[in-house]
């Protein structure tokens, strides 16, 4: 069983081939691969209703952070994450502005010191899947600490 609206049949079929499992060094005794585990999902206990304090500790240690959202997702919508970053109470170091990819507006971003909030226009929950070009651009900018 998978999350709604996701078709992972192809991956499942490939990963559950005996020769693929052998090539990936997966013990034959293990059950078939599935996108999500009901066992884990059903018995999972959430402890953090918010990770605000964790973020504040990490930012205070001088780490760099990026919070990005495909802006058509409703499971974790961009507005909630934008409000989360704003609620950290850090001073904005840029205005809320567009970022460009391939001469098109790819979304919006704003920086608050070491943390950047960025949207990827028209992308859903899995940004690298549904907006691979802008996702790669964003990824490169973040890991090189470059401009968006």
């Amino acid at each position: 069983e998978v999350p709604p609206c996701i078709n992972s049949t192809a991956q499942m079929n490939w990963l559950n081939r005996g020769d693929v499992r052998k090539a990936l060094h997966i013990p034959a005794t293990l059950p078939p691969w599935d996108l999500c585990s009901d066992d884990v999902g059903e018995q999972y206990t959430t402890l953090y209703s918010t990770v605000k304090d964790v973020y504040l500790k990490l930012i205070s240690l001088g780490l760099r952070a990026l919070v990005y959202n495909g802006d058509t997702d409703m499971a974790c919508n961009f507005l909630g994450d934008q409000w989360f970053v704003e609620d950290l109470g850090l001073e904005a170091t840029t205005k809320y502005q567009t970022w460009i990819h391939d001469d098109q507006i790819a979304g919006f971003y704003q920086q608050f010191g070491n943390i950047t909030f960025l949207t990827v226009k028209g992308a859903g929950h899995m940004v690298p899947q549904w907006a691979p070009g802008p996702a790669f651009h964003m990824f490169q900018s973040f890991i090189t600490n470059g401009y968006y």
Binding site: P4, Q11, W14, L30, C36, S37, L63, D73, F139
Partner: protein, 295 residues
């Protein structure tokens, strides 16, 4: 590098990769083994950063990230052959995918007990990371980043805190969260505005939500004490999550239909938890209570 885990050929791969890859197991807590799949950078493995990618769920596999999102190759619809991903993130970085926690994908626990929580997952991920660097000691020099998606909005920062404050020598630079669950309250609260902005709610429902959930200019759609508000929020969320829309991408078709995954439902029900105890008596899939008409 840890030779026994190296993957030198893969069924269905007709192209010759210009990077190396390893697949095997990392040691988490005693008796728990997390499957990892590691691909080096197509550019400069020695100098390029090392990136850990974690999908969320909770309980979903990071191989979805590899094979559907940012990995070097994806699976064709025939489920048998592979094609190269032109936008793979390993074009500029060494990328490590870990299926976490134990029980997810090919990760397992000797005792087959899979109950866990946020902190245990973070501890296990940290141990697994140390196990990775024990297998690939050369990569302790590389700049290191942690990426989490969805429920990875909990995984990534909690693991990052252990990496940033732990004893292991890791050249940790930062973390990123994609469409992450950072705050249940803000995720709920914002979804009402998101849904209204995209025209998913009619004027009646929007007016009733404002009347019953807002006062003095501020609204609480997350944990209102008003039963009327809670009922209306259920209706609104029912439209978002249960009316056939693709909640992962509003403007895309709902691939694969509405099959549901209990873990996902539990997370979504958790999102509803603000609707008070009686919500837990409502089966999510029952949608809106009959007493409320959909405009």
């Amino acid at each position: 590098q840890y030779a026994p885990d190296e993957v030198t050929n893969l069924p269905g791969m007709k192209f010759k990769p210009n990077y190396r890859q390893w697949s095997g197991y990392l040691q988490a807590r005693q008796g728990k083994f997390l499957h990892y799949w590691f691909v080096t950078s197509q550019r400069d493995p020695v100098k390029d950063p090392l990136v850990l990618w974690l999908n969320g769920g909770p309980g979903c596999s990071s191989l979805d990230g590899f094979l559907s999102e940012n990995g070097p190759f994806h699976v064709n619809d025939n489920g048998a052959s592979l094609y190269e991903n032109a936008f793979s993130w390993n074009k500029i970085a060494n990328v490590l995918y870990v299926e976490s926690p134990a029980g997810v994908g090919f990760s397992y626990s000797d005792d087959k007990k899979y109950a866990t929580d946020d902190d245990q997952v973070a501890d296990d991920n940290y141990k697994a990371l140390q196990s990775f660097f024990a297998k690939f000691p050369n990569f302790t020099q590389n700049e290191f980043f942690i990426f989490g998606e969805s429920y990875g909005g909990i995984y990534a920062p909690t693991l990052s805190l252990r990496v940033a404050t732990g004893a292991a020598k890791i050249n940790f630079k930062g973390f990123a969260v994609g469409n992450g669950l950072s705050s249940f309250a803000l995720n709920d609260q914002s979804l009402i505005y998101f849904g209204y902005y995209h025209g998913l709610f009619g004027e009646d429902l929007w007016r009733d939500l404002n009347i019953n959930c807002c006062e003095k200019g501020s609204c609480n759609f997350y944990n209102s004490s008003s039963d009327a508000c809670k009922t209306l929020v259920i209706v609104a969320f029912g439209i978002v999550y249960n009316s056939g829309l693709n909640e992962y991408a509003l403007y895309l078709d709902c691939e694969g239909g509405r099959r549901s995954h209990r873990g996902y439902e539990r997370t979504m029900i958790h999102l509803f938890k603000n609707c008070g105890k009686h919500m837990h008596t409502l089966k999510f899939s029952d949608g809106a209570p009959s007493s409320v008409s959909l405009g």
